[in-house]
């Protein structure tokens, strides 16, 4: 896909179960947005316009899959999209939504909808990739803007986007941050996938793991680090699962 092609690639954005923060984040692009519009036609974007198209070159998906109608809709979008990209933690890994999977689903439904629960069929919260093929993932809660631009630029130039698979600590060291462990906090940076430029530790905050874990997380060792720093084992597991329940609750050490 190159911009030399006469027709600009058709790009669409869809949201599923999420806070829509990622889409809002994207509207904040301002200057860059104009440059992007030079290269693409945005044909569907619920937060910004109301135009329907049949096919898309790139479909960006925000939010997790959590109801039977989500499943239907995502299949429909996948059929019409040449490329499908998940945006933000809810879409890439189930995100915070997937914490509900840790409780019996009927209890969750009751707690949320009360007597009306039968009107709202629900499923465990899932990342988009649990249902359809996802070509690229842009992580973060909200999704990382620099990564969004990077992936988009690579795709428009016909190149394969590179996905980092190293920990947030790497970016901390490149920026010569003082580690927040040395400020008396505990941090998930050592096993969390970088790419956010260690934004939280750079502002003196600990990493909550919003970008998901690296591909080989040593959870045992991470739990040991956290408990060594005065967190109970139970609390340590909860911290790791905050954004990572879908992928990692099954494999969490007992």
């Amino acid at each position: 896909m190159t911009t030399e092609a006469k027709n600009k690639p058709k790009v669409a954005f869809f949201d599923f179960t999420s806070c829509e923060g990622c889409q809002l984040n994207k509207l904040n692009l301002e200057n860059d947005l104009l440059d992007i519009l030079e290269h693409v036609d945005i044909v569907e974007f619920r937060e910004a316009m109301d135009d329907k198209a049949e096919e898309y070159d790139i479909a960006f998906i925000e939010g997790s899959i959590s109801t039977p109608s989500c499943v239907e809709r995502i299949h429909d979008i996948r059929r019409r999209a040449k490329m499908l990209i998940a945006l933000g933690a809810c879409a890439t890994q189930g995100g915070i939504n997937a914490m509900k999977n840790l409780q019996p689903i009927e209890e969750v439904r009751e707690a949320v909808y009360g007597d009306e629960k039968y009107r709202f069929p629900t499923l465990p919260a899932m990342p988009v990739s649990a249902i359809v093929k996802v070509d690229y993932k842009i992580d973060g809660c909200p999704m990382s803007m620099p990564e969004f631009l990077k992936v988009l630029k690579s795709l428009l130039a016909g190149q394969e986007p590179i996905k980092p698979d190293s920990a947030v600590c790497v970016e901390c060291k490149l920026k010569e941050n003082e580690c927040v462990f040395d400020k008396g906090m505990v941090c998930l940076g050592p096993i969390t996938r970088g790419g956010c430029d260690a934004i939280c530790p750079s502002f003196g905050q600990f990493c909550t793991g919003c970008r998901g874990l690296i591909s080989n997380p040593n959870k045992n060792a991470m739990l040991e680090i956290l408990t060594e720093h005065g967190i109970s084992l139970d609390e340590a597991k909860k911290r790791i699962l905050l954004f990572n329940s879908y992928d990692h609750s099954q494999s969490m050490p007992k």
Binding site: D35, D165, K173, L174, N177, I214, P217, A221
Partner: protein, 352 residues
């Protein structure tokens, strides 16, 4: 060697004097309890009594992130990044960090000389300072005493009233010329700095241990506690690995080729096209890291490539200690090859 006395209250004017001759970089406070080298703006914010800086002065010669070139796809052209010629004065460097620079000089000069490193390395002067070793330092155990002046132009040795200024090179002589804040050297002998030996063997015996350490058990043991975060690589003053990436701007025509530090503990490091990774396990990576410090280059140069700064241990969130790893290798070596039970080895760590 010429010697003078620099009294404490003269330090800021000494730094001002240096600033007239070039850009001065020195340790400053960083965060709650850390230190970092930075360009000196206010002379009195410099801190010369510190345990270690987060990164070493390597960052000035091999920056964490660096633009190699900018390119244009439109006319198929590129332009290299520019590297300044300014005179740089590094003040307050510890002997092990100086040694690390000399080691990097070797790495970047042998074979294919690394242009950008060598360009940045020009016009640099180094003023060392003594330090009190803490629980993590073991530079003396790898052959670098606190007062080792190799590489320095001037060396500042702390005393009760300030510093003994030792002029090591002609360049150092020039740096202090016309500074009138120095007094005659005090009539004191160089103070002996307590440095508890931390390695079980003298460093010159380590090659025999490392020759037998490929299959040691310690690699798997350490890997159980290691999260593979790469911190130990990135903070190491003698690590020099990097990755190169192209970054386009939104015109999709122009972009930059950038490089940044990389490390052998990280997943992408040994990944090659086709999805293979030739050093998959954290045990294999840990062995590689330690062999890079005590075997591979050591085999060629005869010197350990670890300078004992203690950073990899002090900053490892999992508390993995390179000293413990090396000592455990010595133990395994004794048990397996010298058939000696560890507890009877009779070595006295204090006395070495």
């Amino acid at each position: 060697m010429k010697k003078y006395q620099l009294n404490k209250k003269q330090l800021p004017s000494f730094i001002d004097h240096l600033k007239k001759q070039g850009t001065v970089f020195a340790p400053h406070k960083k965060g709650d309890a850390s230190y970092s080298f930075a360009k000196v703006v206010e002379s009195d914010s410099v801190i010369l009594e510190y345990n270690r800086t987060l990164n070493s002065i390597k960052k000035y010669f091999l920056p964490p992130r660096e633009l190699l070139l900018s390119y244009s796809r439109k006319d198929n052209s590129y332009k290299k990044g520019t590297i300044g010629k300014e005179k740089k004065i590094f003040l307050g460097v510890h002997s092990y960090d100086m040694k690390a620079v000399l080691k990097l000089d070797y790495n970047f000069t042998e074979g294919n000389p690394e242009e950008n490193y060598l360009l940045r390395r020009r016009n640099s002067s180094f003023i060392g300072v003594s330090f009190i070793p803490d629980e993590f330092h073991f530079s003396q155990s790898v052959g670098m005493p606190v007062h080792d002046t190799d590489g320095f132009d001037i060396y500042l040795e702390k005393n009760d009233d300030g510093y003994t200024v030792k002029i090591i090179t002609e360049k150092g002589e020039k740096l202090i010329k016309e500074f009138n804040g120095l007094c005659d050297a005090l009539d004191i002998s160089s103070n002996h700095i307590q440095f508890q030996n931390k390695l079980k063997y003298n460093y010159n015996r380590l090659p025999e241990v490392f020759e037998q350490s490929w299959n040691a058990e310690v690699w798997e043991e350490v890997a159980k506690r290691c999260v593979g975060c790469g911190t130990c690589n990135l903070v190491c003053p003698t690590c020099y690995c990097f990755d190169v990436e192209d970054n386009m701007d939104l015109s999709l025509q122009n972009g930059t080729r950038d490089r940044s530090w990389d490390g052998c503990m990280l997943n992408d490091f040994a990944a090659v096209a086709g999805g293979e990774n030739f050093r998959k396990s954290l045990a294999d990576r840990q062995r590689h890291r330690i062999f890079r410090k005590f075997r591979y280059i050591t085999y060629i140069t005869g010197e350990p490539w670890c300078v004992g700064c203690g950073r990899c241990t002090a900053y490892c969130t999992a508390g993995i200690s390179i000293v413990d790893i090396v000592n455990q290798l010595c133990d395994e070596y004794e048990q397996k090859y010298l058939n000696r039970p560890v507890e009877q080895s009779g070595l006295n760590l204090e006395g070495l």
